[in-house]
Symmetry: C2
Subunit: 497 residues, 2 copies
């Protein structure tokens, strides 16, 4: 067989030398799987490279630059509904970082854990459970197998805080070949795990929702568990109760009684993510601190939300064993969310998704089953009127497209909610899949026309925000040219170039 003289052929040979032949995948069926996602899209993936260390990542990036083959870094590839592991553009090789799965360091004194991209929620929680029972993991409701770092870099939202708030410092291989550590992490001493801004420009933000570098590790803050923690569920029995519920949450967040992320789910979200029928709007929140402060917060929450809905409050016990399966669906749903607040990740939502196609859950099946889902994630004011407006838009447009969307609203600051909308569809029906994706794109535009803005984008929707000729995106392009002059890293991901 004659050698493949294309740039891709040369890159593959180079990568094989660097990471071992068995970690460079070019087998068409495997590539087809990497190019298939639960959102119903596909990409032409020419190769997959699976380095095991940051040093190998440097080599892989150097080879990609030399041969002009772009790379799309993924962590665990569980960015379900927003593209999974699909590159933005066809012809981009996937840089699969799941073998970089070390918890490199645990600085108990600074409350920092250094994780690589392949570290999953369950791996981190197991580690902390064994080494630091005082630690309170900040988990999302996505799945046990999703990457802590991957989710952080896309500015995902945990139950305790937006994950980016936990970020102390990053290690990244830049497209220009440099290995950068942000803040004080690059200097010897005590502050690299403590002060996120370092001295000089504060660069962490640059590598979130970004194609400016391949992040190979992050120093992430671990909170101690509050000495007392309450879980709160508030159920509102009427559609028009949403406004007062959100306004009540706003008050609690503004006055800092609640300093974690409150979640509000509609009926459809309760059903699809928590297997719960009934309740029109349900809010889940948590508060805590010293026993005295926690009790004061509890009293505030009761006073503010009591007039708005049915308020259930219970003390959460991190030392209790996970409860046995609960036959009562209301109790089971509540238990599931309270477990997330305690820092115990779950697969509930993806189990329910796969149950639609009659399959048991495994992480690898999500992108291959017939159950499809696609997400629209926007930012809306934490204010009742705005939230109601956004929900109405999502539902009207959903009806036009023939979908009943699932909605959640997550308070990520005292002024902003992450507005998460998704629809389910059958991937065996190409027209249904196309309609679902069209709905999400149209919803982005409709919400933007109403004054809202994207919070996070799926691979199909980067150009909803990123437009050439706009001062912000042209600046991002300038930064991209500076750090990645050959355009090797994730072309098109949160950038116009």
């Amino acid at each position: 067989m004659r050698p493949d003289l294309t740039p891709l052929g040369a890159a593959v040979r180079d990568w094989r030398r660097r990471v071992g032949a068995e970690h460079v995948l070019t087998d068409p069926p495997i590539l087809a799987r990497y190019g298939t996602a639960v959102c119903g899209q596909t990409r032409d993936v020419p190769a997959v490279v699976r380095p095991a260390t940051a040093a190998q990542v440097r080599g892989v990036v150097a080879a990609a630059r030399r041969h002009g083959v772009p790379l799309y870094p993924i962590s665990r590839g569980r960015n379900w509904g927003l593209g999974s592991r699909l590159p933005v553009r066809d012809g981009t090789a996937v840089l699969d970082l799941s073998r970089l799965d070390a918890i490199r360091e645990f600085d108990e004194d600074a409350h920092v854990v250094v994780v690589e991209p392949g570290v999953t929620q369950s791996a981190l929680c197991a580690f902390l459970g064994a080494r630091a029972p005082w630690a309170h993991p900040n988990v999302t409701g996505s799945s046990t197998d999703s990457s802590v770092l991957g989710n952080l870099l896309d500015r995902g939202v945990g139950y305790l805080s937006p994950r980016m708030d936990d970020l102390v410092a990053l290690e990244a291989v830049l497209g220009n070949g440099r290995l950068l550590r942000t803040g004080h992490w690059g200097s010897p001493g005590l502050m690299g795990h403590r002060w996120p801004h370092g001295v000089g420009p504060s660069l962490n933000g640059l590598f979130t929702q970004s194609s400016l570098g391949v992040v190979t590790a992050a120093a992430v803050r671990v909170r101690p568990r509050p000495r007392r923690q309450y879980g709160v569920a508030v159920t509102v029995g009427a559609e028009d109760g949403l406004r007062a519920l959100i306004d009540g949450l706003r008050l609690l967040h503004v006055q800092e009684t609640v300093r974690t992320v409150s979640h509000v789910f509609d009926t459809s979200r309760l059903r699809t993510s928590l297997n719960l029928d009934g309740g029109v709007w349900t809010a889940f929140l948590t508060a805590g601190g010293s026993p005295a402060v926690a009790d004061a917060c509890r009293a505030d929450i009761e006073a503010v939300l009591g007039p708005v809905g049915d308020v259930h409050i219970e003390e959460l016990d991190p030392s209790a064993a996970p409860a046995p399966p609960e036959p009562d669906p209301v109790l089971a749903a509540r238990r599931g969310v309270f477990d997330l607040m305690l820092g115990r990740p779950t697969d509930k939502a993806v189990e329910l998704l796969l149950a639609r196609s009659g399959e048991p859950y495994s992480p690898g099946r999500v992108d291959l089953s017939r159950a499809g889902t696609v997400f629209c994630v926007q930012a809306v004011p934490l204010a009742g009127e705005a939230a109601c407006h956004a929900v109405t838009l999502a539902r009207h447009l959903g009806a036009e497209h023939g979908f009943e969307p699932s909605v959640s609203l997550n308070a990520v600051s005292p002024h902003t909610m992450e507005f998460v909308v998704n629809v389910l569809f059958d991937r065996r029906e190409p027209r249904e899949a196309a309609r679902a994706r069209a709905y999400v794109t149209a919803l982005h535009h409709a919400l933007m026309a109403a004054g809202f803005a994207p919070y996070r984008l799926g691979v199909q929707d980067m150009d909803v925000a990123a437009r050439p000729g706009d001062a912000f995106w042209d600046t991002v392009a300038d930064l991209k040219h500076a750090l990645d002059p050959a355009g090797i890293v994730a072309p098109g991901r949160y950038t116009t170039v």
Copy 2:
């Protein structure tokens, strides 16, 4: 007179056309004043340009680029002890932004005020006092006349939080001529004043401690006053009480009982900044929230710090008129700090500085009197042992250089303190001034050798951190070349280029 054909001459003519002749200063005595600072250094300042609007700033930057004359932006120029309004390098024209003093917008719904660089602490507080009595200004102890934005951009620390935590979005004129607004501020809609990260790379941090652009406005978060607020003063009677005091503060910050910035002052700082003799270490902190939460915090603080020192706690009343001058120095000092916690800026520290040269305070006199001062600002762990180590180093090195330094330690996160050291000297004695500056530089190096790291740098000390050949600083240089290819903006400020 023949026209000045140098690049500077051409730039001056161009600037005069753009901002009016009276706002381009080239008179040698005026330039000499701009080139003189309380830290005892001088710079050769070839011109001063004073635009009045962001549009004029764009024009001034364009002319500077055309003629190759670099510009050093200042806000109010009150960066006393860290360089005041001195450029890092000789030959840089000063871009004085003090005429951009508009409070452009107050978004009461989003709790955001849009300020230009010339807005002082007192102007903002007066505005909020009239328009939004509910607002709780986050002030520093520097002076009423200092710039809110200038201090924020150097990552200054207010009594409620590091000012950067209040930053929602920035408007900046880049060296390449572009007018950038960060986050969602550049797009129409509701989120520009709400969500700091926007969508895509989060760029705010890039323009703090930075020479990457001329910031012409910022959207800054305004907190509501807590419904109940306590001020706390804790006095420790022995030198070796510092360790337990800091460890107590750490506990209160980690468990989020205290979510503001706690300040710890040594005897010398109490004397030079608060005119208080006595007390060996005094901590000032504040906590609040709803009445129930505030009272719970008060109980926690008493329980944790009661065993450590004399704890005085009182409820702070934002509606009370400023107290009359207080003859008891202990009460007067406490009153002064509690006023800062209430959001009332003061000139106390600079009044005391100028009193050393027998002069009444006015902002313009600080850089011209014989009273000199220079600061070293580092980051140290919020931990008793580390704090004691840093203090010991500062004092030993102070004794070697013939100074008694003033020290404060300010908790800027649950894991980091800003360690602020300064010495006073007589500017009529050039050797004393040189010795003071040598002490500060030596102290930076000694603290770094002990594992600490710079928090903020004076103009004389940029190269303490910024070194070519280092991956972090080379990346900053790449970013600088991308956004300011002609090197027009603040050469040498937190950059090697």
